[in-house]
C-alpha cells in the first residue's frame, strides 16, 4: 500500500543525490587507491601476518570495553536529561557535548596531564578518554529518544504493578533499544577506528588498525598494505554493526507524534540529580582545566605570555580558517542530511540501504580516505588538493552520518496526518516538504547543523591529511604547536586549545539558544 501523498519519487531523487555524493567523494577515492596501489601480494602479505590479527583483536576488545564504559558514564546523565525538566537542563546537555567537539590530540594530551603516571600508556586511560568523547553520542541519540517517550507510559505500567526495574525492562528498554543500538554502533565505530587517543594514551605498544594504517602509509611508505588494512577495518566494522543491529532487532516502535512535556524533577531524586550533574560536569571539566592551567604555566612560573603571543600572531588566521571550513561543511552537510533523511524515511528497502550507506564514511579510515581524495582530485579543474574548501568537503563526509541520525529520529515523529492535511489544503509535495517537515523540524535541523559545525571545528585527521594554502584550522595548528620545541610554543598550543573549547561552546550555546527560541515560537 503506497500513500499517494508520500510518493517515493522525492525520496528517489534525494537518494540519487546522496549516492552520487558518496560515490564521488568516498567510493571513487577508495577505488582509485585500491586499483592503483594495491597488488595481490599486498593482500596476502597483510592477511597472513600475525600482527594484523593482533591489531584486529585489540581494536575490537578495547572498542567493546569503551562502549560499555561510555554507557556507564553516560547513562545517569542521559536519564536525568531525557526524563526530567529542571533548571540548567540545557546547560548540562551542552556540557556533555563538549568532549565530543574537542580534537582528540588535545583531549589525549589533557588526559596525560591529568592522570597519574601509573595510568599513562594503559588501556584504562584509552578507555576513559573514549568514554569522555562519546558521552555526547549517548546523551544526544538515546536522550532524544527517551525524551519522546511519554512519561505517563511508565506511569501506566507502574499503576499496573510494575516496579521501576520492571518498567525499565518491559517498557522503556523495548522502546529505546533502537536508539541504544544506534548510539552503541556509532560509539563502537569511533573507538574501533580511534587514532590519536590510542597513539598518545595507549603508548607505542598498543595500536588499532587505524593507527597502524597511518604508521604504514607514512612511517614506512607501504600504501598498499595500509589500504588492505583499511578494508580489514571496514569489514570488521560491518560485521560488528551487523551483529548489534541483529541484537536490537524487533519491532522498533516509532515515537509518538507529539513530544510530551517532560515532568519536573521529583523531590526525592533531587540529591541523586545534583550528584549526577556534578559528577558529569567534573568529568568533563577536569581535562579542560588541565588545559587552561597549562596555558598559563611556562616552566614553573605563571604567565599570560602565551595568550598575548597567540593574539599577536597566527590566531586570527586559524580562527578564520576554522570558521569558514566549518560553515561550508555545515551548509553542505545539512543539505546532504536532509536529502539522506528524505530518502530514508520515504523509501522502504531503498531507505534501509541509504541508512546503511550513510554509515560507511564513518567506517572508512580517514587516512585512506584522505590519500584517496588526494590522488583522485588532482587533474585540471578538479585539482582541488590544496583548496581550503576541499577540507570542508572531507568534513561533510565525516560529519553528516551523525546529522542524519539526528534528523531521521526527529523526522519520523511527523504524523502522516499532517501531510494529508497540508495536501488537502492545496500544498504540493515541495510545499509540504518545506512547510510540514522542514519547518516543524527546525530544532532538529539546527541541532544537526550544530553537530556538523562542531565536528568540523574539532576534526583533525582529514584536515591534517589534506594540504592547505594559507592558515591551517585550529586543531591542526594545535597539533603543530604541540610538536614544536620550546615551552612558550607549547603553552601557546594549550592556550589555543582552551580557545577552541570556548569557540565550540559558543557555537553550542548558539544552537541551544536558537532551539529554545524555536520552541517558544511553537507555544511551548
Amino acid at each position: 500500500m503506497t500513500d499517494p501523498v508520500l510518493r517515493p519519487s522525492l525520496g528517489r531523487w534525494a537518494a540519487s543525490v546522496v549516492v552520487l555524493w558518496l560515490s564521488v567523494f568516498a567510493l571513487l577515492p577508495l577505488i582509485n587507491i585500491t586499483a592503483g596501489h594495491v597488488a595481490l601480494d599486498d593482500v596476502t602479505r597483510v592477511l597472513t601476518q600475525g600482527s594484523t590479527w593482533r591489531l584486529v583483536w585489540f581494536s575490537t576488545w578495547q572498542a567493546a570495553l569503551s562502549v560499555m564504559a561510555t554507557f556507564v558514564v553516560a547513562a545517569p546523565v542521559t536519564w536525568l536529561i531525557g526524563r526530567h525538566q529542571f533548571r540548567g537542563r540545557r546547560a548540562l546537555r551542552a556540557v556533555t557535548t563538549v568532549g565530543f567537539l574537542l580534537p582528540s590530540v588535545v583531549v589525549a594530551t589533557a588526559f596525560l596531564a591529568l592522570l597519574p603516571d601509573s595510568l599513562h600508556y594503559s588501556v584504562l586511560a584509552v578507555i576513559m578518554a573514549h568514554a569522555y568523547f562519546n558521552i555526547a553520542v549517548i546523551v544526544r541519540v538515546v536522550g532524544a529518544r527517551v525524551e519522546l517517550l511519554d512519561p505517563q507510559l511508565s506511569g501506566a505500567a507502574r499503576t499496573l504493578g510494575a516496579s521501576p526495574l520492571v518498567v525499565l525492562r518491559t517498557v522503556t528498554w523495548p522502546l529505546t533499544r533502537g536508539a541504544v543500538a544506534s548510539a552503541a554502533s556509532v560509539t563502537f565505530l569511533y573507538c574501533f577506528t580511534s587514532f590519536a587517543v590510542v597513539r598518545v594514551l595507549g603508548g607505542p605498544q598498543r595500536s588499532t588498525i587505524e593507527s597502524d594504517i597511518a604508521l604504514r602509509a607514512f612511517g614506512i611508505g607501504d600504501v598498499g598494505g595500509a589500504t588492505v588494512l583499511a578494508f580489514v577495518q571496514l569489514a570488521g566494522i560491518a560485521l560488528v554493526i551487523g551483529v548489534i543491529r541483529l541484537l536490537a532487532h524487533g519491532n522498533v516502535v516509532h515515537a509518538r507524534a507529539v513530544s510530551p512535556v517532560l515532568p519536573t524533577l521529583r523531590q526525592r531524586y533531587r540529591t541523586t540529580a545534583i550528584a549526577v550533574a556534578l559528577a558529569t560536569t567534573t568529568f568533563v571539566a577536569a581535562p579542560l582545566f588541565a588545559l587552561l592551567w597549562r596555558s598559563v604555566r611556562v616552566g614553573n612560573t605563571l604567565s599570560l605570555e602565551a595568550w598575548r603571543l597567540l593574539f599577536d600572531t597566527s590566531l586570527v588566521d586559524s580562527l578564520w580558517a576554522s570558521a569558514r571550513t566549518a560553515l561550508v561543511a555545515g551548509a553542505l552537510g545539512v543539505l546532504l542530511c536532509i536529502l539522506a533523511t528524505i530518502a530514508i524515511v520515504r523509501l522502504r528497502a531503498g531507505g534501509r540501504a541509504i541508512d546503511a550507506l550513510t554509515l560507511i564514511p564513518l567506517a572508512m579510515s580517514p587516512v585512506t580516505l584522505g590519500l584517496g581524495l588526494v590522488i583522485t582530485f588532482d587533474v585540471g579543474w578538479f585539482d582541488w588538493r590544496a583548496g581550503w574548501w576541499f577540507v570542508a568537503v572531507a568534513h561533510t563526509l565525516v560529519a553528516f552520518p551523525l546529522g542524519v541520525r539526528v534528523l531521521v529520529a526527529a523526522w519520523r515523529t511527523t504524523p502522516v496526518g499532517m501531510h494529508h492535511a497540508a495536501a488537502v489544503l492545496g500544498a504540493n509535495s515541495w510545499r509540504r516538504l518545506i512547510d510540514v517537515d522542514l519547518r516543524r523540524l527546525r530544532p532538529a535541523l539546527v541541532a544537526a547543523l550544530g553537530l556538523i559545525v562542531a565536528v568540523s571545528l574539532g576534526e583533525f585527521g582529514a584536515a591534517s591529511m589534506l594540504s592547505r594554502d594559507g592558515a591551517e584550522t585550529m586543531p591542526v595548528a594545535i597539533a603543530r604547536l604541540l610538536s614544536r620545541t620550546g615551552d612558550e610554543v607549547r603553552t601557546q598550543a594549550f592556550a589555543m586549545a582552551s580557545l577552541l573549547v570556548v569557540v565550540c561552546v559558543i557555537a553550542l550555546v548558539t544552537v541551544e539558544a536558537s532551539l529554545k527560541r524555536g520552541e517558544h515560537a511553537r507555544g511551548r
Partner: protein, 209 residues
C-alpha cells in the same frame, strides 16, 4: 475503602491541589466534577502515586499508602489518552499486570481473552494497538486496568471524545462490569450527566485561586 485527607500538591511554587479530602466506601463509585484545570487529573495521579504530594495522606482499606510506590498501591488508573504500550499487541497490553506478577504466558493469554470478551473485543487479541479505533483503544485500556483486579479504579475522563452512540454503549458496558465485580471507582469527568449515569455519588472540586 479509599480515604484521601487534606491532599495538597504543588507544581513548582504553584498549588494545583489544596487540602482536598474525600472518602469512598467499598463498591461505591464516586464522580468528581470540576472545570478544566482545577486539578482533577492531578488528584488521580496523586492517588495512584505518580506525583509527589506536599501534604496530606492517602489510605486504602485503612492502610496508609502515602509513601508507597505506585506499583505497590494496588490502584488502577485508566488514562485519558489510554497510554497503551505501542510495542505490545492488544492481548499483551491487557495481560501486562499479570506478566509483571509472573504469570505464565499461556495462562496470561487465556485471562486476556476473557477480559477482551467482557469488553466486547473478542478477536482483537493480536491486533497492534496503533491500529485500533478510539472506542476500541479505550476498551483495551479499561480491560488492561481491570485485568489486574485493583482495589480501586481511577477513571480519567473515560468517555470524552467518543460519539453519542459509542458513549452510551461503552457506559453501559462499564457499568455492568463494575456492578458485577463490585469495583470501587473514582471517576473524574466534566460531564455531570455521565457522572450521574455511572456513579452513586458525586463531589465538586473547586478551582484554585
Amino acid at each position: 475503602m479509599l480515604e484521601v485527607v487534606d491532599l495538597t500538591v504543588k507544581r513548582g511554587t504553584r498549588r494545583v491541589l489544596d487540602g482536598v479530602s474525600l472518602s469512598v466506601q467499598p463498591g461505591e463509585r464516586l464522580a468528581v466534577h470540576g472545570p478544566s484545570g482545577c486539578g482533577k487529573t492531578t488528584l488521580l495521579y496523586a492517588i495512584a502515586g505518580l506525583v509527589d504530594i506536599e501534604r496530606g495522606a492517602i489510605r486504602i482499606s485503612d492502610r496508609d499508602v502515602t509513601t508507597t510506590p505506585a506499583h505497590q498501591r494496588d490502584i488502577g488508573l485508566v488514562f485519558q489518552d489510554n497510554q497503551l504500550f505501542p510495542h505490545f499487541d492488544v492481548a499483551d497490553n491487557v495481560s501486562y499486570s499479570l506478566r509483571v506478577r509472573g504469570m505464565a504466558k499461556r495462562e496470561r493469554r487465556n485471562v486476556a481473552e476473557e477480559w477482551l470478551s467482557r469488553f466486547g473485543l473478542t478477536g482483537l487479541a493480536h491486533r497492534r494497538v496503533t491500529e485500533l479505533s478510539g472506542g476500541e483503544a479505550k476498551r483495551v485500556a479499561l480491560a488492561r486496568t481491570m485485568a489486574g483486579k485493583p482495589r480501586v479504579v481511577l477513571l480519567d475522563e473515560p468517555l470524552t471524545g467518543l460519539d453519542d452512540h459509542l458513549h452510551e454503549q461503552l457506559l453501559a458496558d462499564i457499568r455492568s462490569v463494575f456492578d458485577r465485580l463490585g469495583t470501587t471507582v473514582v471517576h473524574v469527568t466534566h460531564d455531570r450527566a455521565e457522572g450521574a449515569a455511572l456513579c452513586h455519588r458525586s463531589m465538586d472540586l473547586a478551582p484554585l485561586g
